[in-house]
Amino acid sequence: VVTIEGKAPLRRKGTLPQASSPVSNQDALADVFREGYGSLHAFASLISGSPGVGEELAQEAFARLVMRVRSGASIDRPDAYLRRAVLNLWRNLIRRKILERRFAARGSADSPGRTDVTDDVAANVAIWRELQQLSNRQRSCIVLRYFEDRTEAETASLLECSIGTVKTHTRRALDRLAERVSDL
């Protein structure tokens, strides 16, 4: 896991933590945890598609942060560090095939709605289901761009890829989601 240094400060909005000051001691860790855990858990849950796995990823990312600080490191931007840690942990889980992705046809977007919902709600349910069917890379782009409101450059930095790759993944994902909505 590497820290993101020398990049422009990340734009924050909504529920993002404000803990951007360097973290180098136990008190600062406690502040980062208190202010940042909720949004990190949300981020990890959206990336992984599962609140339980998201909880695991968020806690593990914080544990890594604690260990880094206790080894004497000063983390300049803990929120970026934690998000990078979540993304790396999730990628490693995929790589090691700990989570085997075998999607059952049942329960997919073709299933009938559970309740009498409006078209709008039905579309949102369909989008969420389709989001979970996206590739890990595409979903990461969508969550970073439209949940965390990161720029293409910031997203590329966190995902360690080019801005062009972010644009391609995002466009393809949005096209797929739009197609799903138009099918309704």
């Binding site: 959206l46 599962s50 796995v53 806690q59 593990e60 544990a63 604690v66 046809a105 049942r106 329960g107």
Partner: protein, 372 residues
């Protein structure tokens, strides 16, 4: 609305629905950090030994760990908190937040239900029954018990405090579960292939719904707002979920009969060929933890402490709490006598608890606690 805005709306609304009411404390992160340090220390010791570098190098590696590690909390193993002697052999078990009920067969051949205070482990009542309480569930303010009596199989609604019989439905046998305002049970059909799962309205005692399921229902669970069942038809055991049309649809096969445990993200099943899998509620994704312990693993509950399972056979069985993601054993308690029943597993928990209750073949009711 533009698709980008719609995606934003969906993501934020989803986050609102998954935000934790009770987020973990920093202590939990500390426990995780401590675990990492222990792993590092083990690896360091292992490396030192393999390299033959001698005691000095091992000492140096251990000493080089952060000084504050010794102050960190360590994860304790699961432990037996309470032991209650039931005075019989357990047939069934169910729990609410405050009470545990145990269905028993006594040494003299009679049947009874014990009411135990979950907070103190005190037996608060023992009610003799005219039927063998083989399956029990609590819901709608009623204790539900199914079993065969002198009049044949039936479902009895009992006052959970006094044990008084409130009502009775005939021809019910097998597992029962409460959910969605109904008690769900299996009703025998005219032939072996025409069993039905019925949803009974507790206010009227009438069947509100019936689903033909085939020859056998081994387990029922209520989770994610719907019913899950392990059934057998044509020699194949499968796990099924009730859909919006009130019919069952298959979501997995090759399942161990009678092992179905609702989890936070999905329903846990034991597979016939060994291993444990979770079927996600939202996606239907099948996930298999890869660091499961060797041997038979029968998951039966997930709560704040983790995924609880019976390990191994009887005797030699143990109750263990596992990490729900990796399957790693977080804590384990060996049972002097095996669990009183494994299909379904004779252990229960409520989702908000961090402990479970298990009955053993030597007539004990044990509360095993893990870490929340």
């Amino acid at each position: 609305m533009k698709i980008e805005d719609r995606v934003r709306q969906v993501l934020h609304s989803r986050v609102r629905s998954i935000q934790q009411a009770d987020p973990p404390t920093l202590d939990r992160i500390e426990a995780r950090v401590s675990k990492h340090y222990r792993k590092r220390r083990s690896a360091a010791i292992g490396l030192g030994a393999v390299a033959g570098a001698g005691a000095i190098s091992i000492l140096l590696l251990v000493v080089s760990l952060p000084a504050n590690e010794s102050n960190l909390p360590t994860r304790s193993a699961a432990s037996i908190e309470r032991t209650v002697s039931t005075g019989g052999e357990a047939l069934a078990l169910c729990a609410s937040e405050s009470t545990v009920w145990v269905g028993l067969t006594k040494a003299d051949g009679s049947y009874a239900i014990l009411r135990v205070d979950a907070a103190t482990g005190q037996i608060e009542g023992e009610w003799k029954t005219s039927f063998a309480p083989g399956h029990m569930a609590f819901g709608g303010g009623i204790l539900w018990a199914s079993g065969i009596g002198e009049d044949g199989p039936g479902l009895r609604a009992l006052d959970p405090t006094s044990g008084d019989l409130v009502s009775e439905v005939a021809e019910i046998r097998g597992p029962i579960v409460f959910g969605g305002g109904y008690v769900w049970a299996t009703k025998s059909g005219p032939s072996a292939e025409t069993a039905t799962i019925v949803g009974i309205d507790p206010r009227t005692g009438q069947e509100a719904m019936a689903i033909v399921v085939g020859s056998g229902v081994h387990d029922l669970a209520w989770a994610d707002g719907t019913l899950f069942a392990i059934t057998t038809m044509g020699g194949t055991t499968r796990v099924e979920r009730m859909n919006d049309e009130g019919t069952l649809e298959q979501i997995g096969t090759n399942v161990t009969p009678g092992v179905l445990a609702p989890g936070k993200d999905g329903v846990w099943i034991a597979q016939e060929q060994g291993g444990v899998a979770q079927i996600g509620y939202t996606t239907g994704e099948i996930r298999q933890p890869t660091s499961l312990p060797q041997g038979t693993v029968l998951p039966f509950a997930e709560n704040r402490a983790g995924l609880w399972a019976i390990l191994g056979g009887s005797p030699g069985a143990a109750v263990a709490v596992l990490d729900p993601v990796s399957g790693e054993v977080l804590g384990e308690v060996a049972l002097q006598a095996g669990p009183s029943r494994t299909f379904p597993v004779s252990a229960v928990s409520t989702s908000n608890a961090s402990s479970i209750w298990v009955t053993t073949s030597d007539g004990q009711l044990l509360e095993v606690a893990g870490e929340s």
